[in-house]
Amino acid sequence: MAIGSLLVAATTIWMLYGAAFEEERLRLVETAQSQARLIEAIARYDRFHYTDHPGGWRAATLSQINEAHQAYEGFGRTGEFTLARLEAESIVFVLGHRHQKVEHPEPVPFDSELAEPMRRALLGQSGTVVGLDYRGERVVAAYEPVAELDLGIVAKIDLAEVQAPFKKAGLAAAGFAVLVVFAGAILFVRVSSPLVTALERRSRDLESTLVALRGSEELFRTTFELAGAGIVQVSLSGRFTRVNKRFCEIVGYTEGELLELRFQDITHPDDLEEDLANVSRIIDGEINSYSLEKRYVCKDNSLVWVSLTVSLVRDGPGDPRYFIAVAEDTTERKNAELAVKSSLAEKEVLLREIHHRVKNNMQVISSLLNLQAKNIEDARLSKMFRESQSRVRAMALIHEILYQSGNLGRIDLGEYVSKLATGLVRMYGTEPDRINLNIGAQDVTLGIDDTVPCGLVINELLSNSLKYAFRDGRMGEIGIDAAPVKNGKIMLVVHDDGVGIPAEVDIRNTETMGMRLVIGLVESQLGGQVDLDRDHGTRFTITFSPTEPDMALKG
């Protein structure tokens, strides 16, 4: 750059110099010619008017010129005219000269190298030349003969003076260039030195990072290879780009074979849709990773269950680059799970079947009792058979509801009571219009161990109400309510607004089978208590703690 600018500067200076030199030359030519013509004019005048001058008109002219010349220093610092004539093979200068403090400079031999411009002028030539003057100094000169006086005139200036500013400029330019180069160098060092330091530090950092990376890569590779789980790197299109040994073992392909495949190729068709949906969601940035259970079709066409966790690796700006998936072979666990499920399903079917069987058997017992009762004339005995039949039905209904419902373990008390009541109302032949039945037992469920005694209790109390409360033909209402109360207990209320139990009847001390069953089942089997309120009709309140609490209600 410095050299370039120097070249430009040099060229510029050279061109300027060329122009300046040409201008100087023209000025000299102009000066020489105008002086020559002026002198010639004076000489012509003097030839006619100074005929009486002691030295002749020539001398008169010369003296005038000399006089004028003495008042004229010259031009520039070194510029001057010279006037000379040829005399005995020498150039004789006729004017006082600037550079030699003499009246006239010493004559110069015509054939010497000195005073070249004057020589040409005296030879009658006109022009410009760069040559030595009378002092032996190199000058730029314009020469012109002065015809009237047989003289030569030279206007000249030292070449050094013409060149001086350009030499100076050249030097200045060179100096400036050197300065620029020097400053540039300093600046470069100033600027580059911290850069170099920073670069060195950065490169040291990079090197240590590289070492760390190599270590980390090594760790990654080792982890990747030796991991107990299958690990794969998968391109965005699904192609395996890196697989570890464990993954190869899981799917039974070699690494080389897998690298030619996409995960879509070995995923079970039924599991592919979910997998692909998750891939879209992860690429859209909706999720960062996902896990799913899916099947791979192994090389030998067997199926293997894996628990797969997939995450997406993005580059700096966040563009997706590839997936990392970790696959754990869960075939054994899955098979065990499926076995448990199928075993459970099988047991459910069996249990349902058993409930069905039990219910059928109870129905058979009920039928037998019914058939047997047909032959009984005694009303009291017949009533006992009917009551027994109704108790068997109350139990059969539990099994019927169990095998028909989705829940084999628990009974919806509301559903049970409503079916039981409907059956009893029909059995006792009660006109539906006369007695209004209200059942409120929503959201109470019981285990089978509580339902059987509970059902029998309700069966007895409801039968009593149906048989006795509205005996006189009155209209009325029977209500059965069940609800959870505090301490996880359940309160069951069976009430009617009928004639009521006579005050003299002590329910704890009665011979009737029904009441003895109620007290016994509640207090002994359910561990609860029975309260009787005889204020308005009859109101039995039974409170007990279920042996199998409803977890759903508690939760």
């Binding site: 129905q363 039928s367 058939l371 047909k374 059969a396 019927e400 028909q404 059956g423 059995m427």
Partner: protein, 128 residues
């Protein structure tokens, strides 16, 4: 006027027997008691009962509704169903068989007597 005849299809003999006793008490004649759909079809072909009282869940390949469908298609004989299952579900499945009625166990014999009597004793077994 002869007593209307009824075929009882019920795979639990004692329950069937109880039904037979009850039906006879109502004035009907039970012409047979079978426990599968296939036997029911044979028996209807042979005995030409006035109607069939059919449990929905019975022995054999077909259930009560399918058996009733065959019987109605081949002989025009109508069926009354008895079932332990909820009625609504059965109504839907058995709609095309145009049953005389669907009676839920435990049976209320008076309802059964009224329904069967209305259809059979009025002699319009095929009209309803």
């Amino acid at each position: 006027m002869t007593r209307p005849t009824i075929l009882v299809v019920e795979d639990e003999f004692i329950v069937a027997f109880e039904l037979k006793v009850a039906l006879e008490g109502m004035g009907f004649t039970v012409c047979g008691m079978v426990s599968s759909g296939e036997d029911a079809i044979d028996c209807v072909e042979r005995e030409k009962p006035d109607c069939v009282l059919m449990d929905v869940s019975i022995r054999g390949e077909m259930d009560g509704i399918e058996a009733a469908r065959h019987i109605r298609a081949r002989f025009g004989t109508r069926t009354a169903f008895i079932s332990g299952y909820p009625v609504e579900e059965l109504m839907e499945r058995a709609a095309d068989v145009r049953p005389i009625g669907i009676f839920v166990k435990p049976l209320e014999y008076r309802e059964l007597e009224i329904a069967l009597g209305t259809v059979l004793l009025s002699g319009d077994a095929d009209l309803n």
